[in-house]
Every structure is written in C-alpha cells, then in structure tokens.
Amino acid sequence: MPESLGVPPGTLAMLILQVLRGGPLHGYVIAQRIHALSKEVLQVEEGSLYPALQKMLMKGWVTAEWGISETNRKVRFYKLTPLGKKQLAAEATEYDRATAAIQSVMRTA
C-alpha cells in the first residue's frame, strides 16, 4: 500500500463540510470517512482536524452536540448549518476553477 498523503493545504475545511453533507458525524468518523472516500490516499491528521473544527464552529459553518457513538462512547457530533452549506458551495466552485486552471497549465506547458 502506498504511503498516505496529508490533506492539501486549504482544503481541509471543504472536505469536512463535504462529508458532513450526509448528516452529523463525530470527529473520528469524519477522519475515517475522508480517508475511505479518498481511496485511502488522504490521511487527516488529528492535530489539524480539531483546530479546524473549532474554527468552523466559530465561523458558524457547523454546530456541535454531544451524543453517543456506535461504540457507546460520549462523542461530539458536528452538523452542517445553512451557512456551512453556502460556504461549501463557494469553496467547491473556487476549488474546481483552481484545479481546472492548474491542470490546463500542467497539460499545455
């Protein structure tokens, strides 16, 4: 198995928002989900996951609520807010534009 990569800078918030679209998740599952959906390429570092979640709470993109996990542990579930949805749409568009631009440079130059 090839070595996992870290999340590219500036995209962590967008990835978190994206996986939360399906419903509230707690921190561990968010990291797992990103890892699985990226076909085990992207590895979210816990050291950056929680500060990022705190920042998103502050911005009002997500809300948090304590609940019980499948493994019966007390965990915090993060839920997307309407503001967060808007932010996700904006970031995704930006990201698509940037990627397309980068790819066209990479192909032609």
Partner: protein, 830 residues
C-alpha cells in the same frame, strides 16, 4: 466578522475552561476509537495552542504569557522595579495632580442645578471691560430680557461682629438659592419673601459661631451693629457659583440694614453686583449675547452716563469654579509644559536604566532568539514589561497626588465644597500618561535589547543624556531667574514706604455720603486719625497702595497709572519730589505731578515743569508742577512704571481711601481700629496694613518659585544620578583600556579623560538646547521676574555652575576608581 461570530467568540472567551475540558474529552474518545493504532495528535500543548488560535484569542494567551513573564522578571529585581516605579510615580504624579486640579476647577461643572445653562454677565466696550454692574442695570435686564429663564445677582461684603471679628458675607438677590438647588441642613433658604434681617449661615460658620447647635434657627446674631435672625443653615457640601469659604448669605434687599444709607438700589454708577443668568431652553450663549444688545441700548436711556459707548455683555460659562476663556492664561500653559518636561526627564532617565539592564539581559535575549522567538515577539515582551512598570507608576501616582491636592486645599483655604476626587477624566489622563511614558522610556531600549548594536546603544544613550541635561537646565535656570526676581522684589526699595502704613477703607459712597458731605466727613476723620498716638502722616487717595484697585489710562506714550491724591500723599507715602512741588491740591483741574518715568519718556532732554500735558483725547491740558520719584504703588513688579498724580476732587471723595503712616503699625493697629470706628458712627471702617497687600502680591510669586525650584531639584537629581551611573559604567567598561594606558605611562588625567569621553558631547548639546529653551520660556514668565532680565547672566551662569559642579561631584567616586586602576590586575581582568 459578523455579529454571530463575535458573540460566539465572547462566549468562548468566557467559557474557556469548560470548552478546553470538553475538547480533551473529545480527544480522549477519538483516541479510544482508534484502538491500538498510534494517534497522530502530536504535542497536546501544540494542539491546544492551535485550537486557541482557532478560537481567536491566541493574542490573549500571548499577552497573558508576557504579563506573567514580565511579572516574574520584575519580581526578580525588586531594586530596579522599585526605583523605576518611584521615578514614574513622581513624574506621573506631578502631572496627575496638576491635571486633577485643573479638572476639578475648570472642567468639572459645579454641583448646582443644570450648571451648563448658567452664565455670568460681564460688561465690555471697545477699550473697556468690567466684571461688575449696578443694581439698576441688573433690575432693568432682569425685567426686559427674553434670553434668560432667570437672572440673579451676587455681591460680596465683609461685615463685623460686635467682637470686631470679620464675617465673610454675600448679598444675594431672591432667585439665588432656588437657582443653586439643593436643600438646607436646617431651616430654609432665602427666597423672595423674607422678613428684614434674615440670614442663612454656612456650615463652617454655624459650627464656629453656634457650635453646631441644631436649634440655631431663630437665633440672633449681630452684624455691623444690626441684629439679624438665622433662618437656615446650608449643608457642608453646599456649593454655589464663585465657590468660596463663606460665612453668611444675606438678602440683597437688606443691604441698607448693614450699610446705613446705602444707595445701592438707586445709584446707577455703583457697580457692586456680579450678574448671573440661566439661559432659556434652546438659547445659545451667542444668541443670548445678541439678544441682550438691544436691552443694553434701552437701558442707556435710564443711565446715559453709566453705559459705555457700544457697550455689550459678554457671557462667560458660570457653572464652573473657574471660567475657562478662549484665552487660557499663559501660566497654565507654562506650568503644563514644565510638568511634562519633568516627566520627560524621568522617562529619559528610566530609558537609560532600561538600556543598561538590556545589556545585562543580552544572554537571556539570545537564548530566547535561539529558541525561536521572533524579534517582534521579544520587543513586545520588553514593551509589556515597560507598560507594567508605567501602570504600576500611575497607580502609585494616585495616593501621591491625593496628598498633594489635600495639602494644596489646606494651605490655600480652598472652598471645602469643591470636589477634588479624581473622576474618569483624571483616570484617562493618568492612563494616557502611563502609555506615553512606557513608549518614551521603553521603545528605544526594547529595540536595542532585542537586537544589540553597540553604535545604536551609544546613540540612544547620548540622546537620553542630552534630553535630561537640557530639561534640568531649563528648570534650574527658570527657578534661578524667578528666585532672582523674588529677591529683587523683596529687597528693592519700591520708591515708597509701606512697611508701617495702612489703608483705611470707608465706603462712604455705599453709605450715601457723597461730594461735599464726603469731604466734610473725611476732614473730621483725618483730623481724628492724625491725633492718634503713633500716627505720623495721613493722606487721601483713590487708589489704595498695594491694594487691588486699578485705574489706568491709555495715552500717547503708553498706559499711565492715574492717581487722585491730596496734598499730603507724597509725604505720607514718602515718595520723593525730585523737581517742582508736590502740592497738587492748588487748582485741582489744571495741576498735575508726573512720575520720573513719564518725564523721561515725554521730555527726554527738557524740564517738564510748566509744560502742558494733554489727557487721553487731548481735550484737557494739565500743567506739570512737579516730578515725583517712580513709585509703582499698584503693581510692584511693574518695571516700566508710569505714574501721574492729579488732585482728588469732591466728586471722588466718596470712594477715597485714607492712607496712614505710623511709627509702628503692629502697635498702632488696635488704636487705629478703635479711633476709626467710634461707637456713635454708622460708618464701618476697615483698617488694612499695606504689609498684607504686599504679602498677597508676593505669595503668588513665592509659590511659583517654590514649585519651579522643587521641580528643578527633582529633574537635576534625576539627571545627576543618571550621569553618575553612566560615568561609572564607562569606567568599568574601559578598565582594561585605562590599565593599558597607565601601563604605558599615562597620567591619571588621561584616565579621567576616558571616563568623560562619552559624556562631553551629549552634556554640551543638552546644555546649549536647555539654555535656548529656558530663554524662550522665560519670556512668558516676565511678569513674575520683577524687572530681572529674561537672559539675566547671573541666573544662567549660576545654573550652569551648579550643574557642572554637581556632575563633577557625582563623578568623583568612579573617576577615583579609574585613576587607581592597577595595570597588572586590569590586564588579567577579563
């Protein structure tokens, strides 16, 4: 940042501890979910810092860290901390005291009803101005104006108890107490319908005279041989316009009761009242001034001779202890400047201390730098330390300034009711001072310490030294100049004698005795006084020598002080007649005696005797019959005195002062008072020794000299200590160099030169700029110098000599050390 985010941040800031615990729980759960795989949290501390940054108060943490660290550093060197706080407390305390004083008097409204709508009415016309007005004018304005919702009048007076003790009284119109507001401690206040003889006592008078008797209302007191009844007592915190420590308030309507025959209500020329008004709602001060102009014009018809041409009534804010006009007195400015200079000197001194400390902390700084602290972070840390020192200094300044203000109040008999407790303005001022000080003494050393550079260090040090030297030079020179001025005022023969003389005030006009009747009364009075044992000479004058009445006259050759006197005046005041004669009484309308100053100015090369001297508008010509020695009896400090004496006329007799010279005033005073106030007379005579007036004129000067000298001493001390430290420092630094020079056969003088090497330039620069600034500032102090030149060489040279000898004295110990350097040990010494 939107509002929601701001709220969340605040919420986080408040609930930080709980949130951090929650985060820890969350991480714990995460770890557990991961099972045996190693978590990649990295350092828990780093995670917490990152989270805090996400919450948006990383700065708060860092500030807290800086404060924490700073506190430890300051605690570690208590000697330095105490010195620094003491220096700052002194510098900031002086400024806070002065500002607190200014704030209480001029910025804080008096605690009366709606103080901001209260105005004081003055009188002005081109070339003339006055503070007082007559009762008929007051009554006319009160009845006819539409700009005030209310008007009232106040008149001061001094009455006598039967025991002869003086009572400070104020006559007031009926509106007064209602306009001041508040409730009496006992009884009631005066109003529109009081029985004749009603008075209200002040709290202090009630304590003094009635021992605080709660049944004082209804009791009688005797004032000016008339019986009055107490109707009320004001509380101790009662305050009114023109705050002053008073004894009684008396209805203006009762004026004649205490001054029999008073013409105050009918005499349009008797300017005895101070007028106040309360602006009607929506009327500005300017609008009220305009609205009063036509009223003054209408009043002219009632009293054509007592209204000036183009007279109007400027309005002054009345609801403050001191009305702050647009032309703030220059004294205020110069006092403020000097105080700020002292603070600047203190900061410069402290800056040097910080610099030296920074050099000692070089190791600590390099460790912090190596550990990854950026330069900005280190500067911020050092500035936080400075700020903490400054805030400690400001906090310590408050008790200091409280003591100073209390002292001032007690020494100057300031009104008890003025509140000198610091308000938000004073606190804000102290904080501003602390911040400015912290930047002044902390920034340069912080920049230097965070990234040492030998060249910059010596440059900063030089600037700081030069600043201290300059400031202490300014203060020492100014205090020298003012001391010389005071000395001169005390020793100068003023050109007349006053030590054993007195003025007797009769106020005949107030009692309705005027013209020929007044002359008749005064003839008898003078004869009685002249026969009193110990009296050497008696005269009449309209202007009391060393009193506070003025009468100057604009003239082609400058302002003349016009004296109206009788034939005995020159003899009584012992003013020499240099030429001609002093007998001005003959033919009162044409003969005058002029002072020497006038003679020199008008006829520099000619005898003035027999010459014509025109009055201001040239309509009248006097013949000069004599020249008297210059005698500035009104303004002692006035160097360019220009006096003119003309005979007193019958019309002026009512306002005349009786001037008496005795062999010994302290012995004669009691007898004089008795002779001047015979039991059967209704006229109250007040005998005031001229010495009192002299002391009053000197007091202000003496206070000013004392304060500037104290400031100068503080600045000088601080500068000398700083210089001594610096010499010692440079000697220590160059011990090795001195040792080598000595080993090569240098004389001790060489060692001394090395010790002083770094100092010569900044001391010289500081001294020169100090001299220049002092000469400039002295211009504004001219009026307290009593004729001493603003560049008086003695003051300047002695200031420099004092300064240099103190530097020399301070340098002795380190220089001795330098000359005794043992070459062998100096070379071994690292």
């Amino acid at each position: 940042m939107n509002i929601g985010e701001l709220w969340r941040k605040l919420h986080y800031l408040v609930n930080r501890g709980k949130l951090q615990r929650e985060l820890a729980d969350e991480l714990e759960a995460h770890r557990a979910e991961m099972g045996d795989r190693a978590p990649s949290f990295g350092s828990a501390l780093k995670l917490r810092e990152d989270t805090n940054d996400a919450w948006g108060f990383g700065w708060f943490d860092r500030l807290w860290q800086d404060v924490h660290y700073g506190a430890r550093i300051l605690r570690k060197s208590p000697g330095f901390t105490l010195t620094a706080v003491a220096i700052l407390a002194l510098g900031i305390g002086l400024n806070v005291t002065a500002f607190g004083f200014f704030d209480a008097l001029a910025l804080r409204p008096l605690n009366i009803k709606d103080p901001d709508s209260v105005v004081r009415l003055l009188r002005a016309a081109p070339g003339s101005s006055a503070d007082n007005a007559s009762y008929p004018a007051f009554d006319f304005y009160r009845r006819n104006n539409v700009v005030f919702s209310s008007m009232w009048a106040v008149s001061g007076g001094e009455l006598l108890l039967d025991s002869g003790a003086k009572v400070r009284a104020r006559f007031i119109s009926p509106e007064f107490f209602n306009e001041m507001g508040g409730v009496p401690l006992l009884g009631r206040y005066l109003g529109p319908s009081d029985a004749p003889g009603s008075v209200v006592l002040s709290h202090r008078f009630w304590l003094r005279q009635f021992g605080g008797d709660s049944a004082a209302v209804g009791k009688k007191i005797r004032l000016n041989r008339s019986t009055a009844v107490v109707v009320g007592v004001a509380p101790s915190n009662f305050i009114s316009v023109e705050p002053e420590n008073l004894d009684v308030w008396i209805p203006l309507a009762d004026h004649a009761l205490y001054t029999p025959g008073s013409k105050i209500f009918t005499d349009t020329g008797m300017m005895a009242l101070r007028l106040y008004g309360r602006l009607a709602p929506g009327i500005s001060r300017k609008a009220a001034e305009d609205g009063l102009r036509p009223i003054v014009e209408q009043y002219r018809k009632e009293a054509p001779q007592d209204v000036w041409k183009d007279e109007w009534t400027p309005l002054q804010p009345g609801g403050y202890a001191v009305a702050l006009d647009s032309h703030a007195p220059p004294v205020l400015l110069i006092v403020g400047t000097l105080l700020l200079l002292v603070l600047a000197a203190a900061c410069a001194n402290l800056g040097n201390l910080m610099l030296a400390r920074g050099a000692m902390r070089a190791r600590e700084m390099s460790i912090r730098g190596a550990a990854g602290a950026s330069r900005g972070r280190i500067v911020r840390q050092l500035l936080t330390e400075s700020l903490m020192l400054a805030i400690l200094g400001a906090v310590a300044a408050f008790p200091l300034s409280w003591v100073a203000l209390r002292l001032f109040v007690v020494l100057n008999d300031a009104p008890d009711s003025i509140d000198f407790t610091p308000d938000w303005r004073v606190v804000l001022f102290a904080i501003t001072m602390a911040l400015t000080a912290a930047l002044l003494f902390g920034l340069a050393p912080a920049l230097q310490t965070s990234k040492p550079s030998v060249k910059r260090a010596s440059r900063i040090r030089m600037v700081l030294i030069a600043a201290q030297v300059a400031i202490s030079c300014i203060l020492v020179i100014l205090s020298g100049l003012m001391t010389r001025g005071l000395e001169r005022a005390l020793t100068l023969r003023p050109g007349f004698s006053f030590e054993q003389s007195a003025n007797i005030y009769l106020d005949l006009g107030t009692a309705g005795i005027r013209g020929a009747a007044a002359r008749l009364f005064l003839d008898g009075f003078r004869a009685r006084i002249a026969q009193t044992p110990g009296v050497e000479s008696v005269a009449l004058s309209l202007l009391p020598p060393l009193g506070n009445r003025f009468s100057s006259m604009g003239h082609a050759i400058g302002f003349l002080m016009m004296h109206q006197v009788d034939e005995n005046y020159f003899n009584t005041m012992q003013i020499p007649i240099l030429r001609g004669r002093g007998g001005v009484a003959k033919d009162p309308n044409t003969n005058i005696v002029i002072g020497e100053g006038v003679a020199h100015k008008r006829w520099p090369n000619d005898s003035p005797l027999g010459k014509e001297f025109p009055d201001r508008d040239g309509t009248r010509h006097w013949i000069v019959v004599g020249v008297a020695g210059d005698a500035p009896t009104v303004g002692l400090g006035d160097n360019d005195t220009m006096e003119v004496y003309r005979p007193i006329t019958d019309a002026e007799m009512a306002d005349a002062i009786v001037v008496v010279r005795t062999a010994n005033i302290s012995m004669a005073l009691g007898t004089l008072e008795k002779v001047a106030n015979p039991v059967e007379s209704s006229i109250i005579a007040r005998v005031v020794p001229m010495r009192e007036g002299f002391e009053n004129q000197m007091r202000t000067g003496r206070m000013a000299v004392m304060s500037i000298t104290a400031l100068g001493a503080v600045a000088l001390l601080v500068a000398i200590v700083g210089l001594a430290g610096l010499i010692s420092y440079s000697v220590t630094q160059r011990t090795r160099e001195i040792g080598i020079r000595m080993a090569l056969g240098a004389r001790p003088a060489e060692a001394i030169r090395v010790g002083f090497a770094q100092l010569t330039k900044p001391v010289l620069i500081g001294m020169l700029s100090g001299l220049g600034a002092a000469a400039g500032l002295a211009q504004t102090l001219r009026f307290t110098l009593f004729g001493v030149s603003t560049v008086d060489p003695i003051a300047y040279i002695s200031a420099i000599a004092l300064f240099l000898s103190l530097v020399g004295l301070a340098a002795i110990a380190p220089l001795r050390r330098a000359t005794r350097v043992d070459p062998a040990s100096a070379l071994r010494h690292d």
